[in-house]
Each structure stands twice: as C-alpha cells, then as structure tokens.
Amino acid sequence: MTASPLAQIVTVASYEIRKYIRGRRLLGILILVGLIIGLFLGLPPALGTPYASNPNAFVSTFATFTGLLVVLNGVLFAADALVSEHEKRTGYFLFPNPVRREVLVLGKIAASLIVSAAVISLYYGAAAIAALIVTKSLTWDVGLSYVYALSYMTAVVGIAYLVSATFKSTVAATVLTFFLFTLIFSIVGALLPRAKIDPWFIPTSASGIISDVLGSTAARPGPGGEVSVGFIPDPATSILVFAAYAIVGGVLAILWFRRRELSS
C-alpha cells in the first residue's frame, strides 16, 4: 500500500510547511520583515526627508534589502531541511516507509519554495501597496523586480539543499549557506572583474537585477555603507544563472541524499 509519488510529495510538503508555521523561524522572519518595512516607511518622515516621488525609486529602497531577505529565507527554510533528518535521527522513523528519498527532497524543496515565496510576496506586497499610497502609481518594473527576487530565491534554495544534503551538521550547513551568499559569492564577484572576467555566473552578481530593473544602482550592504555589486548580467542571463543554480543544486542534492547512508 503506497501513495503515488506526487501524492507523497504533496504530503511531505504539507507537513514541512506545518513545521515552519509552528516553529519560531517563520514568526521570526515575519517580525524582521515588519521591522524593515516599518523602518523604510517610518525613518524618512522621522528624519524629515521626503519619500521618493516615483514608484520605481520608492520600491528600490525596499529592493536593497531583498537579496539579504532571500538569503535569510534560504538559511531558515532550506539549509537544514535534509541534514536534520540525519543529525536529529528523524530519518530512522521516516526512511523505512515506502517513500523514495527523491520524493522526500522534492516535497521539502516545494515547502521551502512556498514558504520563502510567501515571505517575499508579503514584503513586495507591502512595498507595492506603500508605493501606491505614497506615489499614487505603480509600474511593471516593480513586478519584474519581484519575479527576479523569486528567481534568485530558487537559486538560493537549490544551493542550500545541496549544502544540506552533503553536510553532517545543521549548524555547519546553515552557517555555510549564509556566508556563501553574503560573503563568499560577493567576494568572488567583486574580484573576478579585476582579472577581466565578468562574474555573470555568480548568483549574487546576477541578483543585482532585482534593484537594477528599478533603475537604481544595485548595491549590497557593506561596512561603512552600501557597496556597489559592480557588474550585473542582463535579465535573461541572470534568470538562466538562477535556474542553473536551482536545478543543478536541487538535482545534486537529490543524488547525494539518495546515496547518503543513515548510520549513527
């Protein structure tokens, strides 16, 4: 008696989503999103500076934080999804059931994408509503920025799953995923142009389109202020880069997780 793989994926995804809803992580990131939105909306009037007058400029303020928000989603909702089954020994209860490992990974990936997309949608939704109220208009560019953010999210989740499938400790997998996207890729992306190589294949460089589409200079938070991300690939290349990281990361995660043995 075994459910179809698709039904099993839906089951796994629904229970993973339940985990995120009941856990403190979702609540934590929602509080963080609320604080960021509050700061972006509350600080200008508090400092006596006017809001941007056009929707693209208004939303681009929000977009400067999108990259980090996407990475935080990957860290909180993907980086330990597979490794924890081994480390916390829940695999001893789950794996002897008639369910393929790839089904488990796909269900978990689906849950990570759904929850991360919900958080990013909430953030962009709030930004768009605020832009509509403040500037009385909205552009398609805001929607494009949102789509690029979701695409970047798939790349982060794909890589986070690969890290999660290969590491033995949830802490190591979580820390590596975070620093990979906030530090390592950024450093590589900043150094490659010095060797006359365009970092089009670096996901953090490609993530520059999230802000770039809104007409602002793509930047990431850095010591002493924002740092320009420098080279930004064109949108089509960026989307392809995100897709490649998502697919390769996800497929390698499945292959690794299938081969990995559960032994204490």
């Binding site: 339940r18 002897p96 032994s263």
Partner: protein, 323 residues
Amino acid sequence: MQSSHTESVTREFPVHLEGLGKEYGHFTALKSLDLTVPEGTSLGFLGPNGAGKSTTIKIMTNLIRPSRGRAILFGIEVRQEPTRALARIGAVIETPEFYGYLSPLETLAYVGRLRSMSTSQIEHRSEAVLKGVKLTDWADHRIQEFSKGMKQRLAIAQALLHEPELLILDEPTSGLDPRGMAEVRDVIKSLKGEGRTIFMSSHLLGEVQEVCDDVALLNHGELLIHGSVRDLSRGADTSTFQTTFLRSPTPQELEALASVPGIVEVKAEGDSTVDLRISGGEEGQARVLEAMVSRGLKVITYRPLGSSLEQLYLDRIQESDRL
C-alpha cells in the same frame, strides 16, 4: 526475469538474506550473512553490542547499502525496489526521534498518508495502535514533551499502523522501564499470535526466549547459531547451577566436587555458595545433585543461573571472541 524468479523462490520467506556483508572502511560490520525467516514465525536476532544486528536491520530497511549480498523481503530486493519491499513491513529502528512539532495523531496521519491509507483508516488504526501502546491520553500532545520511553512506544505504534505482515524491530524495549518492557513484549506476543512475521533484534536473551520461536546469534558480523529456541535450549551442552551448602565446603570438598561426573567447572562464589557448571542436560543435573548428597554435602539450594540457552549464548560468544 531474475526478479520474478526471486519472488517465487522466496515468497514463503518474508525475510531472505543472501551473503549480506557490510564494510565501513577497513572495519567489517557484517561478513556474509545468510538467513531466512519463514512466514508467521518470530526470529530473535541476538548478539552483543557491535555484533552487526543493527547493520543488518538498516540494510533490510534501506537505511544503508550492503557492500555485498542481497536483502530480500517478500521476494523483492530492497536495494532494487525499496518502496515495494518496504510497503508490507513496519519497522522500529533504534530509538527514533519524531518531529517535535507534531502530535502522535499527526505523526501517524503523516505515515498513513505516505502509505496511501484513507482518512477513516488512519483515524481508526491510530486510535487502536495508540491504545495498544498506552498513548491515548497523549494523542494530541506535541511530541517535544515526550520522554524516550514514550517515543519508543510511539515508534511501535507507527510501525503497526498499517497492519504490516512483517515487523522489523531493533531492540524494541530499549529505553523503556520494566513495566513498559513487559507491555511491549505483550504487544509483540499478541502480534505473533495473529500470525505476523517478526524479526526482532535484542541483546536481552530472556526477552528473545519469551517472545521468539527461533533465534539467530551474531557476533563480529558472523552468524554463530540459528535454530529454534526449544531445540537450542535442549541441545545446549552445559548450564550453571548456583548451589548453596549448609556450611562452607572445605578445599578438599571442593576438589571432590570437581571430580563428580557431570560437573565441568566449580567456582566458589561466597562462603557457602558455589557455581557448578554441569553437562548432560536435566539428567546430568539430577545426577550431580544425587552425587553431592551421597557425598554428605548438605545442599540448601540448587538453582539454575540463567537458562541453558544463556550458557550456550555466552559460550559461543566467548568462543567467537577468542578466535
């Protein structure tokens, strides 16, 4: 073609292990295990810690890959078709952890849905299995509040949810208090009464004797004994009897005891207590008692220390350790 042949050959054996071996680097956890378990029987898989019991069970449940050989359940090779092979089994491996954010009812619903059980089936069976392991009062509580013993009982409940034909239990009473152990044994015995096939590892010989028809003894990854509990108990060469005398036997009397036919070993354990290792089964035990009395030794108590199977177990393990 080979698969259908295997299925027809091994259909009457829910468990068929063929040359099963496992290496971790240079360490051999399992050498070459050949073992079958006929339908409706219960096998106690015995051995000290590190003997290879859990390795075997992990291979059978697709948690690890064998280095060689095959594990076949209901004629289906686990490595080749894990979902089909695992569909008819229920397993408890070590003391599993559960998702702390779920309740037992939700956990069972998760397993039931993965196994394509209907909502009404899940509800009906969840109620029954939780009652069986005495977790009904905790059915809606989050598992993060549970003790190790409660988790072990939940593990048994989830293994029974879909009424499996074969139960694979890896030390099922581990972590339970004496009352919990007795309750779990009763559950296993009732399942045995229903005609289910049981493959149970344990390092507790008494538990295996109480619950199982057959026993397989493993040490250093090698099968030492395989047979029915009854036959092995009868066939055991020696057993140890703790004998207490009215007064402490003198060294001369102890020497004389050692020469009594049937006494293999004499070990003074206290002032007036001596452990006698006796050969010859029940006849031998009676002869030794008669001989002691006829030699004027005043015997107060004469009782077996453990079972003859236990002695056989210890002898074979010691023998295997010496090699």
